[in-house]
Protein backbone atom coordinates (compact mmCIF):
# COMPACT_ATOMS: atom_id res chain seq x y z
CA UNK A 1 0.00 0.00 0.00
CA UNK A 2 1.29 3.44 -0.90
CA UNK A 3 1.63 6.43 1.35
CA UNK A 4 -0.79 9.34 1.06
CA UNK A 5 0.74 12.78 1.49
CA UNK A 6 -1.26 15.99 1.72
CA UNK A 7 0.51 19.21 0.78
CA UNK A 8 -1.31 21.94 2.66
CA UNK A 9 -0.80 25.43 4.13
CA UNK A 10 -4.00 27.30 4.93
CA UNK A 11 -2.74 30.43 3.20
CA UNK A 12 -2.76 30.70 -0.56
CA UNK A 13 0.19 31.46 -2.79
CA UNK A 14 2.87 29.97 -0.56
CA UNK A 15 3.88 27.26 -3.02
CA UNK A 16 1.67 24.20 -2.40
CA UNK A 17 1.19 23.38 -6.08
CA UNK A 18 4.84 24.06 -6.98
CA UNK A 19 5.98 21.89 -4.07
CA UNK A 20 3.52 19.10 -4.94
CA UNK A 21 4.88 18.98 -8.49
CA UNK A 22 8.53 19.26 -7.43
CA UNK A 23 8.29 16.60 -4.70
CA UNK A 24 6.26 14.33 -7.00
CA UNK A 25 8.86 14.55 -9.76
CA UNK A 26 11.72 14.12 -7.27
CA UNK A 27 10.16 10.95 -5.82
CA UNK A 28 9.35 9.62 -9.30
CA UNK A 29 13.02 10.01 -10.27
CA UNK A 30 13.81 7.53 -7.51
CA UNK A 31 11.86 5.02 -9.65
CA UNK A 32 8.90 5.01 -7.31
CA UNK A 33 5.38 5.24 -8.70
CA UNK A 34 3.88 8.61 -7.88
CA UNK A 35 0.40 10.07 -8.42
CA UNK A 36 -0.14 13.79 -7.85
CA UNK A 37 -3.79 14.69 -7.24
CA UNK A 38 -5.17 18.19 -7.63
CA UNK A 39 -7.86 18.88 -5.01
CA UNK A 40 -8.32 22.51 -5.98
CA UNK A 41 -11.61 21.92 -7.81
CA UNK A 42 -12.63 25.06 -9.70
CA UNK A 43 -9.16 26.65 -9.52
CA UNK A 44 -6.99 23.90 -10.91
CA UNK A 45 -3.33 24.71 -11.45
CA UNK A 46 -1.36 21.52 -11.00
CA UNK A 47 -1.99 20.54 -14.64
CA UNK A 48 -0.30 23.79 -15.76
CA UNK A 49 2.71 23.36 -13.50
CA UNK A 50 3.04 19.75 -14.71
CA UNK A 51 2.64 20.85 -18.33
CA UNK A 52 -0.35 18.58 -18.91
CA UNK A 53 -3.11 21.15 -19.40
CA UNK A 54 -3.80 20.08 -22.98
CA UNK A 55 -4.09 16.42 -22.12
CA UNK A 56 -6.88 16.65 -19.52
CA UNK A 57 -9.90 14.61 -20.59
CA UNK A 58 -11.43 13.33 -17.37
CA UNK A 59 -10.84 14.69 -13.90
CA UNK A 60 -11.20 13.92 -10.19
CA UNK A 61 -14.87 14.90 -10.10
CA UNK A 62 -15.63 12.59 -13.06
CA UNK A 63 -14.01 9.70 -11.21
CA UNK A 64 -15.87 10.53 -7.99
CA UNK A 65 -19.18 10.68 -9.86
CA UNK A 66 -18.43 7.44 -11.66
CA UNK A 67 -18.43 9.06 -15.14
CA UNK A 68 -14.91 7.80 -15.74
CA UNK A 69 -12.65 5.07 -14.43
CA UNK A 70 -9.49 6.04 -12.57
CA UNK A 71 -7.06 4.82 -15.31
CA UNK A 72 -8.96 6.96 -17.86
CA UNK A 73 -8.46 10.10 -15.81
CA UNK A 74 -4.82 9.57 -14.86
CA UNK A 75 -2.35 11.39 -17.11
CA UNK A 76 1.13 9.89 -17.46
CA UNK A 77 3.96 12.42 -17.49
CA UNK A 78 5.76 12.64 -20.84
CA UNK A 79 9.20 12.89 -19.23
CA UNK A 80 8.89 10.40 -16.36
CA UNK A 81 6.86 7.22 -16.80
CA UNK A 82 6.48 6.67 -13.06
CA UNK A 83 4.76 10.05 -12.58
CA UNK A 84 0.99 10.46 -12.99
CA UNK A 85 -1.43 13.36 -12.59
CA UNK A 86 -5.06 13.25 -11.55
CA UNK A 87 -6.33 16.71 -12.45
CA UNK A 88 -9.12 18.66 -10.77
CA UNK A 89 -12.22 19.87 -12.56
CA UNK A 90 -12.17 23.52 -13.57
CA UNK A 91 -15.89 23.85 -14.27
CA UNK A 92 -17.13 22.63 -10.88
CA UNK A 93 -16.57 23.74 -7.30
CA UNK A 94 -15.58 22.06 -4.03
CA UNK A 95 -19.16 20.93 -3.35
CA UNK A 96 -18.70 18.37 -6.12
CA UNK A 97 -16.34 16.46 -3.80
CA UNK A 98 -17.93 13.91 -1.49
CA UNK A 99 -16.33 12.20 1.45
CA UNK A 100 -17.16 8.68 0.20
CA UNK A 101 -16.01 9.53 -3.32
CA UNK A 102 -12.67 10.89 -2.15
CA UNK A 103 -12.16 7.89 0.13
CA UNK A 104 -12.80 5.48 -2.75
CA UNK A 105 -10.45 7.30 -5.16
CA UNK A 106 -7.64 7.59 -2.59
CA UNK A 107 -8.08 3.95 -1.62
CA UNK A 108 -7.77 2.89 -5.25
CA UNK A 109 -4.72 5.12 -5.89
CA UNK A 110 -2.99 3.68 -2.80
CA UNK A 111 -3.18 0.23 -4.35
CA UNK A 112 -1.33 1.19 -7.53
CA UNK A 113 1.12 3.86 -6.39
CA UNK A 114 3.95 4.13 -3.86
CA UNK A 115 3.13 7.77 -3.24
CA UNK A 116 -0.16 9.64 -3.58
CA UNK A 117 0.47 13.37 -3.20
CA UNK A 118 -2.65 15.49 -2.71
CA UNK A 119 -2.35 19.17 -3.58
CA UNK A 120 -4.75 20.85 -1.13
CA UNK A 121 -6.59 24.06 -1.98
CA UNK A 122 -5.98 27.09 0.25
CA UNK A 123 -8.38 27.77 3.10
CA UNK A 124 -9.84 25.60 5.83
CA UNK A 125 -13.11 24.71 4.12
CA UNK A 126 -14.44 21.54 2.54
CA UNK A 127 -11.81 21.25 -0.21
CA UNK A 128 -8.91 21.50 2.24
CA UNK A 129 -10.46 19.23 4.87
CA UNK A 130 -11.26 16.54 2.27
CA UNK A 131 -7.73 16.71 0.86
CA UNK A 132 -6.21 16.10 4.31
CA UNK A 133 -8.85 13.64 5.53
CA UNK A 134 -7.29 10.39 4.30
CA UNK A 135 -3.63 11.40 4.44
CA UNK A 136 -0.90 9.44 6.25
CA UNK A 137 1.61 12.28 6.16
CA UNK A 138 1.18 16.04 5.93
CA UNK A 139 3.64 18.46 4.37
CA UNK A 140 2.86 21.93 5.70
CA UNK A 141 4.14 24.56 3.27
CA UNK A 142 5.01 27.84 4.97
CA UNK A 143 6.66 31.09 3.93
CA UNK A 144 8.86 32.81 6.50
CA UNK A 145 6.34 35.53 7.30
CA UNK A 146 3.85 35.94 10.15
CA UNK A 147 0.54 35.49 8.32
CA UNK A 148 1.67 32.29 6.62
CA UNK A 149 3.03 30.92 9.91
CA UNK A 150 -0.21 31.61 11.77
CA UNK A 151 -2.30 30.02 9.00
CA UNK A 152 -0.03 26.97 9.04
CA UNK A 153 -0.50 26.74 12.79
CA UNK A 154 -4.26 26.68 12.25
CA UNK A 155 -3.90 23.95 9.64
CA UNK A 156 -1.71 21.87 11.96
CA UNK A 157 -4.50 22.10 14.55
CA UNK A 158 -6.94 20.79 11.96
CA UNK A 159 -4.57 17.97 10.91
CA UNK A 160 -4.60 16.89 14.56
CA UNK A 161 -8.38 16.93 14.85
CA UNK A 162 -10.19 16.62 11.52
CA UNK A 163 -8.29 13.81 9.79
CA UNK A 164 -9.20 10.13 9.84
CA UNK A 165 -5.91 9.35 11.60
CA UNK A 166 -6.61 11.85 14.35
CA UNK A 167 -10.15 10.56 14.80
CA UNK A 168 -8.80 7.01 15.19
CA UNK A 169 -6.53 8.28 17.96
CA UNK A 170 -3.35 7.95 15.89
CA UNK A 171 -0.78 10.69 15.44
CA UNK A 172 -0.61 12.44 12.11
CA UNK A 173 2.94 12.70 10.81
CA UNK A 174 3.57 16.38 9.98
CA UNK A 175 6.54 18.02 8.28
CA UNK A 176 7.36 21.64 7.69
CA UNK A 177 8.50 22.74 4.24
CA UNK A 178 9.75 26.30 4.41
CA UNK A 179 9.53 27.84 0.95
CA UNK A 180 10.65 31.14 -0.60
CA UNK A 181 13.36 31.53 2.02
CA UNK A 182 15.74 34.42 1.50
CA UNK A 183 18.67 34.29 3.91
CA UNK A 184 19.68 37.92 3.31
CA UNK A 185 16.25 39.22 4.14
CA UNK A 186 15.99 36.90 7.15
CA UNK A 187 19.35 38.21 8.37
CA UNK A 188 18.13 41.80 8.00
CA UNK A 189 15.00 40.95 9.98
CA UNK A 190 12.59 41.46 7.04
CA UNK A 191 11.64 37.81 7.23
CA UNK A 192 11.25 35.33 10.04
CA UNK A 193 14.28 33.18 10.68
CA UNK A 194 14.16 29.39 10.41
CA UNK A 195 14.44 28.96 14.16
CA UNK A 196 11.59 31.39 14.82
CA UNK A 197 9.27 29.47 12.49
CA UNK A 198 10.29 26.13 13.98
CA UNK A 199 9.77 27.47 17.50
CA UNK A 200 6.25 28.67 16.70
CA UNK A 201 5.08 25.65 14.72
CA UNK A 202 7.06 22.99 16.63
CA UNK A 203 6.94 20.30 13.93
CA UNK A 204 10.00 18.68 12.28
CA UNK A 205 11.60 20.41 9.32
CA UNK A 206 11.41 18.65 5.95
CA UNK A 207 13.41 21.21 4.03
CA UNK A 208 14.11 24.85 3.24
CA UNK A 209 13.54 25.92 -0.36
CA UNK A 210 15.40 29.11 -1.27
CA UNK A 211 13.60 31.96 -3.03
CA UNK A 212 14.63 31.61 -6.67
CA UNK A 213 13.68 32.74 -10.13
CA UNK A 214 14.20 29.16 -11.31
CA UNK A 215 10.97 28.11 -9.60
CA UNK A 216 8.81 30.68 -11.39
CA UNK A 217 10.56 29.95 -14.68
CA UNK A 218 9.92 26.22 -14.33
CA UNK A 219 6.23 26.78 -13.50
CA UNK A 220 5.76 28.95 -16.56
CA UNK A 221 7.48 26.34 -18.72
CA UNK A 222 5.07 23.74 -17.41
CA UNK A 223 7.63 21.55 -15.69
CA UNK A 224 8.31 20.73 -12.06
CA UNK A 225 11.53 22.50 -11.09
CA UNK A 226 13.10 19.16 -10.15
CA UNK A 227 12.67 18.08 -13.79
CA UNK A 228 13.46 21.19 -15.77
CA UNK A 229 16.51 22.35 -13.86
CA UNK A 230 17.65 19.57 -11.53
CA UNK A 231 20.93 21.28 -10.70
CA UNK A 232 19.42 24.55 -9.41
CA UNK A 233 19.42 25.38 -5.70
CA UNK A 234 15.65 24.95 -5.19
CA UNK A 235 15.74 21.60 -7.03
CA UNK A 236 18.54 20.36 -4.80
CA UNK A 237 16.49 21.38 -1.76
CA UNK A 238 13.43 19.56 -3.10
CA UNK A 239 15.48 16.43 -3.85
CA UNK A 240 16.77 16.44 -0.29
CA UNK A 241 13.23 16.95 1.06
CA UNK A 242 12.05 13.97 -1.04
CA UNK A 243 14.83 11.81 0.39
CA UNK A 244 13.76 12.78 3.92
CA UNK A 245 10.15 11.92 3.06
CA UNK A 246 11.35 8.51 1.94
CA UNK A 247 12.92 8.03 5.36
CA UNK A 248 16.59 8.87 4.69
CA UNK A 249 18.47 10.95 7.22
CA UNK A 250 19.81 14.02 5.45
CA UNK A 251 21.02 17.02 7.47
CA UNK A 252 19.16 20.26 6.74
CA UNK A 253 21.15 23.17 5.40
CA UNK A 254 19.91 26.74 5.51
CA UNK A 255 20.42 28.13 2.00
CA UNK A 256 22.98 30.89 1.70
CA UNK A 257 24.31 30.66 5.24
CA UNK A 258 27.97 30.42 6.10
CA UNK A 259 29.80 27.76 7.99
CA UNK A 260 29.40 28.68 11.67
CA UNK A 261 25.66 28.23 11.56
CA UNK A 262 26.09 25.16 9.39
CA UNK A 263 27.68 23.33 12.28
CA UNK A 264 24.87 24.30 14.59
CA UNK A 265 22.26 23.09 12.15
CA UNK A 266 23.99 19.81 11.67
CA UNK A 267 22.75 18.68 15.03
CA UNK A 268 19.15 19.61 14.28
CA UNK A 269 16.75 16.75 13.92
CA UNK A 270 15.22 16.82 10.49
CA UNK A 271 12.01 15.10 9.49
Amino acid sequence: MGKVIVVTSGKGGVGKTTSTAALGAALAQRNEKVAVVDFDVGLRNLDLVMGAERRVVYDLVNVINGDAKLPQALIRDKRLDTLFLLPASQTRDKDALTEEGVERVIGELKKYFDWVICDSPAGIEKGATLAMRHADVAVVVTNPEVSSVRDSDRIIGMLDSKTLKAENGERMEKHLLLTRYDSNRAERGDMLKVDDVLEILSIPLLGIIPESMDVLKASNLGAPVTLSDARSAPSQAYFEAARRLAGEVVPVTVPGEKRGIFGKLFGRKAA
Binding site: R150, D151, D153, R154, G157, D160, I200, S202
Partner: protein, 250 residues
Protein backbone atom coordinates in the same frame (compact mmCIF):
# COMPACT_ATOMS: atom_id res chain seq x y z
CA UNK B 1 -47.33 58.48 30.53
CA UNK B 2 -43.74 57.51 30.46
CA UNK B 3 -42.35 55.35 33.20
CA UNK B 4 -39.68 56.96 35.31
CA UNK B 5 -37.12 54.71 36.87
CA UNK B 6 -36.65 55.76 40.44
CA UNK B 7 -33.94 53.26 41.18
CA UNK B 8 -30.72 54.00 39.36
CA UNK B 9 -29.34 50.52 39.96
CA UNK B 10 -29.32 48.43 36.85
CA UNK B 11 -30.32 44.79 36.88
CA UNK B 12 -27.33 42.49 36.74
CA UNK B 13 -27.80 39.39 34.72
CA UNK B 14 -25.28 36.71 35.44
CA UNK B 15 -24.52 33.44 33.76
CA UNK B 16 -24.07 30.34 35.84
CA UNK B 17 -23.69 26.71 34.94
CA UNK B 18 -25.23 23.83 36.84
CA UNK B 19 -24.94 20.13 36.47
CA UNK B 20 -28.16 18.59 35.24
CA UNK B 21 -29.14 14.99 34.63
CA UNK B 22 -29.87 14.26 30.97
CA UNK B 23 -32.49 11.71 29.99
CA UNK B 24 -32.36 10.44 26.39
CA UNK B 25 -35.48 8.39 25.70
CA UNK B 26 -35.65 5.92 22.87
CA UNK B 27 -38.53 4.40 20.96
CA UNK B 28 -40.96 2.85 21.70
CA UNK B 29 -41.66 5.32 24.46
CA UNK B 30 -43.91 3.11 26.56
CA UNK B 31 -41.15 0.51 26.90
CA UNK B 32 -38.64 3.20 27.78
CA UNK B 33 -41.00 4.52 30.46
CA UNK B 34 -41.31 0.98 31.81
CA UNK B 35 -37.54 0.76 32.16
CA UNK B 36 -37.53 4.17 33.84
CA UNK B 37 -40.16 2.96 36.32
CA UNK B 38 -37.97 -0.04 37.02
CA UNK B 39 -34.96 2.22 37.67
CA UNK B 40 -37.02 4.48 39.90
CA UNK B 41 -38.23 1.46 41.87
CA UNK B 42 -34.66 0.37 42.51
CA UNK B 43 -33.51 3.84 43.47
CA UNK B 44 -36.37 5.71 45.01
CA UNK B 45 -36.20 9.45 44.99
CA UNK B 46 -33.38 9.57 42.45
CA UNK B 47 -35.08 12.22 40.35
CA UNK B 48 -36.40 14.24 43.30
CA UNK B 49 -34.68 17.62 43.56
CA UNK B 50 -32.57 16.95 40.48
CA UNK B 51 -32.73 19.23 37.47
CA UNK B 52 -33.48 17.02 34.49
CA UNK B 53 -32.94 17.84 30.84
CA UNK B 54 -34.73 15.80 28.18
CA UNK B 55 -32.55 15.05 25.15
CA UNK B 56 -34.77 14.33 22.13
CA UNK B 57 -32.18 14.72 19.37
CA UNK B 58 -32.40 11.78 16.91
CA UNK B 59 -35.83 10.97 18.34
CA UNK B 60 -38.47 11.12 15.60
CA UNK B 61 -41.48 12.26 17.64
CA UNK B 62 -44.16 14.88 17.08
CA UNK B 63 -45.09 17.81 19.29
CA UNK B 64 -48.10 16.03 20.80
CA UNK B 65 -45.99 12.97 21.63
CA UNK B 66 -43.34 15.15 23.25
CA UNK B 67 -45.99 16.89 25.32
CA UNK B 68 -47.41 13.52 26.36
CA UNK B 69 -43.92 12.32 27.30
CA UNK B 70 -43.30 15.39 29.47
CA UNK B 71 -46.67 14.80 31.19
CA UNK B 72 -45.87 11.11 31.68
CA UNK B 73 -42.57 12.06 33.29
CA UNK B 74 -44.25 14.68 35.50
CA UNK B 75 -46.58 11.92 36.74
CA UNK B 76 -43.46 10.04 37.86
CA UNK B 77 -42.19 13.14 39.68
CA UNK B 78 -39.54 13.79 37.02
CA UNK B 79 -39.66 17.49 36.34
CA UNK B 80 -38.11 18.57 33.07
CA UNK B 81 -36.24 21.89 33.21
CA UNK B 82 -35.43 22.02 29.52
CA UNK B 83 -35.49 20.11 26.24
CA UNK B 84 -32.37 19.56 24.19
CA UNK B 85 -32.26 18.80 20.49
CA UNK B 86 -35.92 19.63 19.76
CA UNK B 87 -37.02 21.58 16.71
CA UNK B 88 -38.41 25.03 17.69
CA UNK B 89 -41.80 23.98 16.27
CA UNK B 90 -41.98 21.09 18.74
CA UNK B 91 -41.96 23.36 21.77
CA UNK B 92 -44.99 25.46 22.62
CA UNK B 93 -46.18 27.52 25.56
CA UNK B 94 -46.40 25.58 28.80
CA UNK B 95 -43.51 23.35 27.76
CA UNK B 96 -39.93 23.56 29.05
CA UNK B 97 -37.59 25.85 27.11
CA UNK B 98 -35.12 24.59 24.53
CA UNK B 99 -31.55 24.13 25.74
CA UNK B 100 -28.41 23.96 23.69
CA UNK B 101 -24.65 24.14 24.01
CA UNK B 102 -24.50 21.50 26.74
CA UNK B 103 -21.12 19.98 27.51
CA UNK B 104 -20.85 16.32 28.47
CA UNK B 105 -19.90 15.50 32.06
CA UNK B 106 -19.29 12.15 33.73
CA UNK B 107 -22.16 9.69 34.05
CA UNK B 108 -24.35 10.00 37.10
CA UNK B 109 -24.34 6.93 39.31
CA UNK B 110 -27.76 5.64 40.24
CA UNK B 111 -27.52 4.38 43.78
CA UNK B 112 -29.50 1.23 44.43
CA UNK B 113 -31.81 0.98 47.39
CA UNK B 114 -30.24 -0.73 50.37
CA UNK B 115 -31.64 -4.25 50.62
CA UNK B 116 -32.74 -4.02 54.25
CA UNK B 117 -34.36 -0.59 53.94
CA UNK B 118 -38.03 -0.91 54.81
CA UNK B 119 -39.89 2.31 54.39
CA UNK B 120 -39.67 4.55 51.37
CA UNK B 121 -38.51 7.44 53.48
CA UNK B 122 -35.54 5.44 54.67
CA UNK B 123 -34.63 4.46 51.13
CA UNK B 124 -34.67 8.05 50.12
CA UNK B 125 -32.18 8.90 52.82
CA UNK B 126 -30.05 5.96 51.80
CA UNK B 127 -29.97 7.12 48.20
CA UNK B 128 -28.92 10.59 49.12
CA UNK B 129 -26.55 9.84 51.93
CA UNK B 130 -23.60 8.70 49.77
CA UNK B 131 -23.77 11.94 47.82
CA UNK B 132 -23.47 13.97 50.99
CA UNK B 133 -20.33 12.05 51.85
CA UNK B 134 -18.90 12.57 48.40
CA UNK B 135 -19.34 16.33 48.39
CA UNK B 136 -16.37 17.30 50.60
CA UNK B 137 -14.15 14.87 48.64
CA UNK B 138 -14.86 16.66 45.38
CA UNK B 139 -13.90 19.93 46.97
CA UNK B 140 -10.70 18.46 48.36
CA UNK B 141 -9.28 17.54 44.95
CA UNK B 142 -9.20 20.55 42.64
CA UNK B 143 -9.76 19.58 39.04
CA UNK B 144 -7.06 20.17 36.49
CA UNK B 145 -6.61 19.66 32.79
CA UNK B 146 -3.20 18.85 31.33
CA UNK B 147 -2.54 19.33 27.63
CA UNK B 148 0.63 17.78 26.25
CA UNK B 149 0.80 19.53 22.91
CA UNK B 150 0.88 23.09 21.62
CA UNK B 151 -2.45 24.91 21.42
CA UNK B 152 -2.74 25.89 17.75
CA UNK B 153 -4.17 29.04 16.24
CA UNK B 154 -7.98 28.87 16.15
CA UNK B 155 -8.24 26.31 18.94
CA UNK B 156 -9.82 27.16 22.26
CA UNK B 157 -9.35 25.22 25.44
CA UNK B 158 -12.15 25.92 27.90
CA UNK B 159 -12.11 24.33 31.34
CA UNK B 160 -14.33 26.14 33.86
CA UNK B 161 -13.86 23.37 36.44
CA UNK B 162 -10.29 24.23 37.40
CA UNK B 163 -6.69 24.74 36.34
CA UNK B 164 -5.20 24.23 32.90
CA UNK B 165 -1.59 23.17 32.39
CA UNK B 166 -0.17 23.29 28.88
CA UNK B 167 3.13 21.60 28.08
CA UNK B 168 3.81 23.58 24.91
CA UNK B 169 3.04 26.98 23.48
CA UNK B 170 -0.25 28.80 22.94
CA UNK B 171 -0.24 30.21 19.40
CA UNK B 172 -1.36 33.59 18.21
CA UNK B 173 -5.09 33.35 17.62
CA UNK B 174 -5.60 30.54 20.15
CA UNK B 175 -7.32 30.94 23.51
CA UNK B 176 -7.19 29.24 26.87
CA UNK B 177 -9.99 29.82 29.36
CA UNK B 178 -9.84 28.31 32.85
CA UNK B 179 -11.97 28.58 35.94
CA UNK B 180 -8.75 28.35 37.93
CA UNK B 181 -5.16 29.19 37.08
CA UNK B 182 -3.35 28.71 33.77
CA UNK B 183 0.17 27.29 33.56
CA UNK B 184 1.94 27.42 30.21
CA UNK B 185 5.30 25.68 29.81
CA UNK B 186 6.03 27.45 26.55
CA UNK B 187 5.34 30.77 24.90
CA UNK B 188 1.98 32.45 25.39
CA UNK B 189 1.20 34.23 22.11
CA UNK B 190 -2.58 33.99 22.13
CA UNK B 191 -5.15 34.75 24.82
CA UNK B 192 -5.27 33.42 28.36
CA UNK B 193 -8.22 34.01 30.65
CA UNK B 194 -7.95 32.67 34.18
CA UNK B 195 -10.58 32.68 36.91
CA UNK B 196 -13.25 32.89 34.24
CA UNK B 197 -16.13 32.07 36.58
CA UNK B 198 -15.19 34.53 39.28
CA UNK B 199 -11.96 33.49 40.97
CA UNK B 200 -9.82 36.43 42.06
CA UNK B 201 -7.07 34.10 43.27
CA UNK B 202 -6.45 32.62 39.83
CA UNK B 203 -3.09 33.29 38.22
CA UNK B 204 -1.45 32.94 34.84
CA UNK B 205 2.07 31.56 34.52
CA UNK B 206 4.06 31.32 31.30
CA UNK B 207 7.62 30.57 30.25
CA UNK B 208 7.59 33.43 27.77
CA UNK B 209 5.04 36.23 27.52
CA UNK B 210 4.08 37.37 24.02
CA UNK B 211 0.33 37.40 24.72
CA UNK B 212 -2.34 39.18 22.71
CA UNK B 213 -4.66 39.42 25.71
CA UNK B 214 -4.69 38.22 29.28
CA UNK B 215 -7.57 38.29 31.75
CA UNK B 216 -8.11 37.27 35.35
CA UNK B 217 -11.65 37.26 36.76
CA UNK B 218 -12.91 39.45 33.93
CA UNK B 219 -10.22 42.12 34.34
CA UNK B 220 -8.27 42.14 31.13
CA UNK B 221 -5.16 43.63 29.62
CA UNK B 222 -4.35 43.95 25.94
CA UNK B 223 -0.87 43.48 24.55
CA UNK B 224 -0.51 47.24 24.09
CA UNK B 225 -1.25 47.94 27.76
CA UNK B 226 1.37 45.54 28.99
CA UNK B 227 4.74 46.72 30.16
CA UNK B 228 7.08 46.09 27.24
CA UNK B 229 9.84 44.98 29.62
CA UNK B 230 7.74 41.87 30.37
CA UNK B 231 7.74 40.65 26.78
CA UNK B 232 9.82 37.59 26.17
CA UNK B 233 10.19 36.81 29.87
CA UNK B 234 8.87 34.12 32.15
CA UNK B 235 6.03 35.91 33.89
CA UNK B 236 3.50 35.36 36.63
CA UNK B 237 0.27 37.39 36.48
CA UNK B 238 -2.06 37.81 39.41
CA UNK B 239 -4.85 40.08 40.52
CA UNK B 240 -4.48 42.70 43.21
CA UNK B 241 -7.76 44.49 43.74
CA UNK B 242 -8.78 45.50 40.23
CA UNK B 243 -5.33 45.56 38.68
CA UNK B 244 -3.37 42.80 37.06
CA UNK B 245 0.08 42.58 38.59
CA UNK B 246 2.98 41.00 36.76
CA UNK B 247 6.18 39.55 38.16
CA UNK B 248 9.10 38.31 36.16
CA UNK B 249 10.01 34.83 37.35
CA UNK B 250 13.72 34.14 37.80
Amino acid sequence: MTKVLTDARSIRIKGRSFLAVVLSPDLPLDQWLERLDDLAARSAGFFLDRPVVLDVSDLPIKKAELKQLIDDLAERNVRIMGVEGARPSMLGPGMPPAMKGGKPASDVEVTAREPDAESEAEAEVAAQAPQRQEAPQVRAIPQSLVIDEPVRSGQSIIFPEGDITIVGSVASGAEVIAGGSIHIYGTLRGRAMAGSIGNTNARIFCRRLEAELIAIDGIYKMAEDMDSSLRGHAVQLSLEGDTIMADILF
